[in-house]
Point group: C2
Chain length 361, copies 2
């Protein structure tokens, strides 16, 4: 491939399979798919979801909602605690599309009710164990007071309870991920039971790629919002929720120096291209994994070679005595990213194997 500078290669086939697999599982479970588009942030990739009759999406910022509304998406949830400093933008957007926002306090609900100009969908963020955001599911009193508030709001329409079990990223086994999901869902179903009479349309919306990837069916979950699965990455394969072959993006990086004395390649590809996200493998920080880039695919070496260090523009790949002789200055190597959401966020576009540039936000 005629690559000059670090370029994120998208394997369209893998990406479409990832989309299909998740959509198909949701359809089988009779669960609404509302995929999170914060990972790819691209109109064109977003359109691939429409092949599976997906017409609802999740984003993580008002600007991202605007971007996708501009491409015809008409039902968008912003899965981030609503930032009332952006109320003008929210009101503008809410005129044109069906918008859902997220709250976790009575105070914000009250303010939101006063500030929105038209009816808006509101999800309540519930915390069943991640402890990043949300009302603890055990805090029944507070939830009950909040729900009472919804019985009198005129513009804020309660849509349901929303959870993101990010603690699955710390799980050691697939069984543990499934258990986190099971316990969380059990608590949410009890919550739903409590309020379903008062709010017959309330739904349970659950996120996180790890759970959604390892579950065989989503029974009990009304809506899913995974995002990362569209590309997957080393963090997910390390967790065991995908294989490395499912990873749909690799950074193509020119080799700019070689150090045979320490079997290291220096690549043009650093923190500003890949992000500084790392995972620990055998007690060492790893910033990516090398693959061999071919004309229409990449090949994953049987023996792993990792990106062991990352500066602003440089990356260091640790090779062995043999491989260091087979890679030359000026070659292009591929790097599977640790966290594809952050890597993708740093790009202006993707390059497919048939040399199409796919722009993003």
């Amino acid at each position: 491939m005629n690559i000059k500078i670090p370029t994120l290669i998208l394997d369209e086939q893998k990406c479409r399979v990832n989309i299909w697999r998740m959509a198909e599982k949701a359809q089988r479970s009779n669960t609404i798919s509302r995929p999170h588009f914060k990972t790819h942030q691209s109109h064109q990739i977003g359109r691939w979801f429409r092949d599976f009759d997906i017409d609802k999406i999740t984003v993580s910022s008002v600007q991202m909602a605007q971007y996708f509304a501009n491409d015809g998406w008409r039902d968008i949830s912003i899965a981030f605690p609503v930032n009332l400093r952006e109320i003008d933008e929210i009101n503008a957007l809410n005129q044109n599309i069906r918008l859902n926002v997220l709250i976790e306090s009575k105070n914000i609900l009250e303010k939101l009710e006063n500030l929105v100009q038209e009816e808006i969908g509101v999800f309540v963020k519930i915390d069943t164990g991640y402890h990043r955001t949300g009302i603890r599911v055990e805090d029944e009193q507070y939830i009950s007071e909040l729900m009472k508030q919804f019985s009198v709001t005129k513009r804020c329409e309660f849509k349901g309870f929303l959870v993101h079990n990010g603690q699955t990223y710390k799980a050691k086994t697939i069984a543990e991920i499934k258990e986190i999901h099971r316990v969380s869902l059990e608590k949410l179903l009890a919550l739903k039971e409590k309020y379903i009479t008062q709010f017959p349309d309330l739904i349970l919306s659950m996120g996180d790629t790890p759970s959604m990837s390892v579950l065989d069916d989503f029974s009990g979950v009304d809506e899913i919002r995974p995002g990362n699965f569209v590309f997957y990455d080393l963090m997910q394969s390390d967790l065991g929720v995908c294989t490395e072959k499912d990873i749909a993006v690799a950074m193509a990086c020119p080799v700019v120096a070689k150090h045979k004395d320490r079997n290291q390649l220096v690549i043009y590809g650093g923190g500003v291209h890949l992000s500084k996200e790392s995972i620990q493998i055998d007690g060492q920080a790893v910033f990516g994994k090398m693959v061999f880039l071919k004309e229409s695919k990449w090949e994953i070496p049987e023996k792993p070679f990792y990106l062991v260090s990352l500066s602003q523009e440089h990356g260091i790949i640790q090779l062995d005595d043999e491989l260091i002789h087979n890679i030359s200055l000026g070659d292009i190597v591929g790097v599977l990213p640790v966290h594809s959401c952050l890597t993708a966020d740093l790009q202006k576009n993707y390059l497919t194997f048939d040399k199409r540039k796919i722009p993003k936000v």
Copy 2:
């Protein structure tokens, strides 16, 4: 301040003082200033250096060189192992400005000599201990062969030896930073001595903000290339090479949730705004430090409050029993970044206290 979304605030005064202090020290030492512009990546901030008669700069990519050439910079070093896949762009740039590139192998020098269309400046990267890139200073045989090559090159003009002592970032004390610099410079001076007769104009170019910040004078060093000092950051103050008061950028972040049970603030400000770079403080990963944002400055609380967790868009600040009551939903807090180069790279512009938007690349 009327901030809606995460916004990088630039304290122009602090920034100009940082620039002045470094320039003044270089002038006093009779050393050329060739500051690295990869940190701010901004035409306007670049112009502030011209007040100190600085007309030579360093960048880390060909695109960055193009960007600054477009603002009238006519003497630019690209301090990154030259990527010959960009030879067309290098040749185009080299027609218009005095361009220096960096090599560390005979193979690349030979290719470069064949590919460049006009005379180009070439620095040789020397490794005196960082072991990221460069020819080990002990490898006298290889250096000697490379220097012989320069005696016959017609377009590649040898400029000097260039070092980046990035290992200073791992130093435990100021004395250790000074010692790294002293030992490195000693080796470089011996190298210079060896080749000065053959190349009477050769210079020693040294980088890294830690060394250049703690040295009182740069005697023996012909040219300095620090970059980060323009803003500094927590990594540098943690090293002790600046104070927190010298840090010239802070991310303004809306508070979107509060969790009194665990004394945590959730801010709109995540890895896509600050980068995932972290430092360890008391055994804990820290992604930033909270400051109080006022109309024309920020105040650093005496007791430190850190950003302890970072997702794509969320940040979590750990407060205490008292402060959690003094900050409200919708407030704006400031965050001093861990690594200002990476944080700045994620921005489209800076905002000054007098409400000017300073665009960047």
